[in-house]
């Protein structure tokens, strides 16, 4: 996950690539997340101006969706599926293991990693499943979790 400082020029270009259409707001916010990693107050101001919406309207959309975080994430984002199929295969125990191994609680971040719950990655025949920096992994035991995290850490 790349986290970059808000860049008004780059943000304006993303908005322009969607022809400044207000109905593309959710898609534009995705563009911001892939570019900056999070949605800043500056981003919300710019969107309101460019799309002719109130800041409250933009804020309402940003705060509604889980994907649009409003603080910078850690260098890596790890999501652990918490839904029923993964529960049936020990996702609760895996989450506890992950929290201990990473020293971060679910829903929180440190500089290196953000740990988030996700309600279904659609990989339910390979439970439990996790997603690391946008890549899905299945059949994740505690040992495999440690291996995946170590490999990702080395590559960064």
């Amino acid at each position: 996950m790349t986290t970059k400082a808000f860049d008004k020029q780059a943000a304006t270009e993303i908005i322009a690539s969607f022809e400044s259409r207000a109905e593309m707001l959710v898609q534009i916010l995705h563009g911001f997340i892939s570019r900056f990693g999070w949605i800043s107050e500056d981003a919300i101001r710019l969107l309101a101006t460019k799309l002719n919406l109130s800041r409250a309207e933009v804020h309402g959309v940003v705060s509604y969706y889980h994907d649009f975080r409003t603080s910078p994430p850690g260098k890596h984002v790890i999501k652990i599926c918490q839904a029923e199929a993964c529960q049936a295969m020990g996702s609760r125990e895996l989450s506890t293991h992950a929290e201990a191994a990473l020293g971060v609680d679910l829903h929180s971040s440190n500089e290196n990693v953000t740990l988030e719950p996700v309600y279904c990655l659609g990989n339910c025949a390979c439970s439990p499943a996790i997603m690391v920096d946008g890549k899905t992994y299945g059949r994740v035991s505690a040992d495999r979790f440690d291996d995946i995290v170590a490999a990702v850490g080395e590559s960064s």
Binding site: M24, Y65, E84, C120, C126
Partner: protein, 517 residues
């Protein structure tokens, strides 16, 4: 000598257990041995428990190797993999794998078979034949065929697709839309994903037929953001269709215009509800709308809109090719045709099984699934996602049929089947149902927004053994209120799993530490 064809799925589940690494290793080993290969990235056949499932074409027959890891590949080459040589991973011809041959593949027949993003391969397997057939039949006859088929909405609600299409066709307005619901949020479901990753052009063809039938020239796919690989595959498939004149203006000189835009969801479960999805497609928060008006009358941007699930739309091309009567010959009662059941959770052989309605849960879990992954007895099976009831072992002989499931207080939904073994704490699962509703409620209506939070608290008190009988009555009353007064299925059906736990697994509430009874 022609290059040997080797198939390695480009599909989320296969890749999640190493398919990309296997593909890289196969290319490396072939280079090393000097063998000429053509590496084809197909979709998944749906036998997910065998992934990564690699195939090699030998004398026009595909030979399968299951659960291949990158470190197996060198040894497989030594054993003559490229000529179908024997190896511990060898399963034999793909078409003889019992998990696959005993299915009724109507909608998913191209998944695994073809190279997902190859227009040529798609067209060699009847691709875009159905839209041509639809042009010949005319819009009215297309709708009639869908009605004859008895096809019902596969997203979960089971509304007859033909009647929905008729309503949109009859609605007045110059602009109409097709909105494909690909926000597959139910836990235990992945059939939309397997279809989109394995046969993306098949979905586009289904949307085109729907557009032609109702007079819509624009389609939207609302895809959940948890599926990044699917997003990239669909993006490329749409571009391929445009470049080859199968999307855009005057498609293949037919006079019919149709184009598709792909939108990403943003992690909201409620956006799978059709009106919340329409709000999200309009760039807003995914808050549920009041119904009426129905989306068929006033949907996306206030225009008549067909909202159909991926599997519903992808079932249509073969209804054009083989006829509505043929589809209706599968299934039982008012549940005609096939459903892609998805075996998930604690199951030995998880994956996708497309079968005619009428099969029982027990057959699916035993004959296909081979029981639990843990080897322990089945305790409960949740069918139809997080809003579906937990079904006890003694009801596993219920035939999968929309109406038969309603009779036992359950639902077929999108066909997700999540198995739990006897270690599951069902009180915890009931609590989770309420907790999930509290996290995902859009907040528009009070029973869902507040009721779910109160539900968690009441269940916690019951588990702690505080005034258990009074709290039991309170929970039942809360379930009544949520069911009767919520705006959509989120609050209205969250009580289903909760009630099923109260009814069949009540002992799990009293076994908790601190019980006062």
């Amino acid at each position: 000598m022609a290059a040997t064809k080797v198939y390695v799925p480009r599909e989320t589940a296969a890749i999640s257990v190493g398919a990309d690494d296997v593909a890289i290793e196969i290319a490396r080993q072939a280079k090393k041995s000097g063998d000429s290969i053509e590496l084809i990235r197909n979709g998944s056949w749906g036998a997910t428990w065998l992934e990564p499932l690699v195939e090699v074409l030998v004398d026009d027959e595909r030979i399968a190797y299951g659960n291949v890891a990158a470190h197996d590949v060198a040894e497989m080459f030594t054993s003559g993999f490229l000529t179908g040589g024997d190896h511990a991973r060898r399963l034999g011809p793909t078409i003889e794998i019992p998990y696959l041959i005993n299915q009724d593949r109507w909608t998913f027949w191209r998944c695994g078979l073809i190279e997902s993003l190859s227009l040529g391969d798609f067209q060699q397997h009847a691709g875009f034949k159905a839209i041509g057939r639809a042009f010949e039949m005319g819009a009215d006859a297309v709708i009639e065929a869908v009605k004859t088929s008895g096809l019902r909405g596969r997203g979960g609600a089971g509304f007859p697709a033909g009647i929905k299409w008729q309503t949109v066709a009859d609605a007045t307005g110059d602009q109409k839309y097709i909105a494909c619901n690909a926000d597959e949020g139910d836990s235990g479901t992945f059939s939309d994903r397997i279809l989109m990753e394995g046969d993306p052009l098949g979905l586009i063809e289904g949307m085109m037929i729907a557009g032609f039938a109702v007079g819509a020239n624009r389609g939207y796919i609302y895809l959940r953001s948890e599926y990044p690989l699917t997003h990239s595959i669909l993006t490329r498939a749409i571009a391929t269709a445009r470049e080859s004149g199968w999307l855009g203006e005057n498609i293949q000189d037919s006079g019919f215009d149709f184009d598709v835009e792909l939108h990403l969801g943003a992690g909201s479960y409620v956006c799978g509800e059709e009106t919340a999805m329409l709000e999200s497609l309009e760039g807003k928060a995914g808050i549920v709308r009041y119904k009426p008006p129905l989306p068929a009358i006033s949907g996306l941007f206030g225009k008549p809109t067909v909202v159909n699930n991926v599997v519903t739309l992808a079932s249509v091309p073969n209804i054009m090719n083989l006829g509505g009567e043929k589809y209706a010959s599968f299934g039982v009662n008012r549940s005609t045709g096939t459903l892609a059941f998805q075996l998930a959770g604690n199951i030995k052989r998880g994956g996708l099984v497309e079968k005619a309605f009428g099969i029982t849960l027990r057959e699916l879990i035993q004959d296909w699934g081979d029981g639990t992954a843990s080897g322990r007895p089945v305790k409960a099976v949740q069918v139809g996602g997080p809003l579906g009831a937990y079904i006890p072992e003694e009801q596993l002989d219920t035939p999968l049929d929309y109406e038969a499931f309603i009779e036992i207080g359950a639902m077929v939904g999108h066909g997700g089947i999540v198995v739990f073994d006897d270690t599951a704490d069902m009180a915890q699962q009931a609590r989770f149902a309420m907790e999930f509703c509290a996290v995902e409620s859009c907040g528009k209506c009070t029973p869902c927004r507040i009721g779910s939070t109160r539900g968690v608290e009441v269940i916690d008190r019951m588990v702690e053994g505080i005034e258990r009988e009074d709290n039991y009555d309170l929970l039942v009353e809360l379930c009544d209120t949520m069911e009767d007064a919520s705006l959509c299925a989120m609050g209205g059906m969250t009580p289903f799993p909760v009630r099923s736990v109260l009814k069949y697994f009540a002992e799990d509430f009293s076994s908790a530490v601190g019980a006062d009874e």
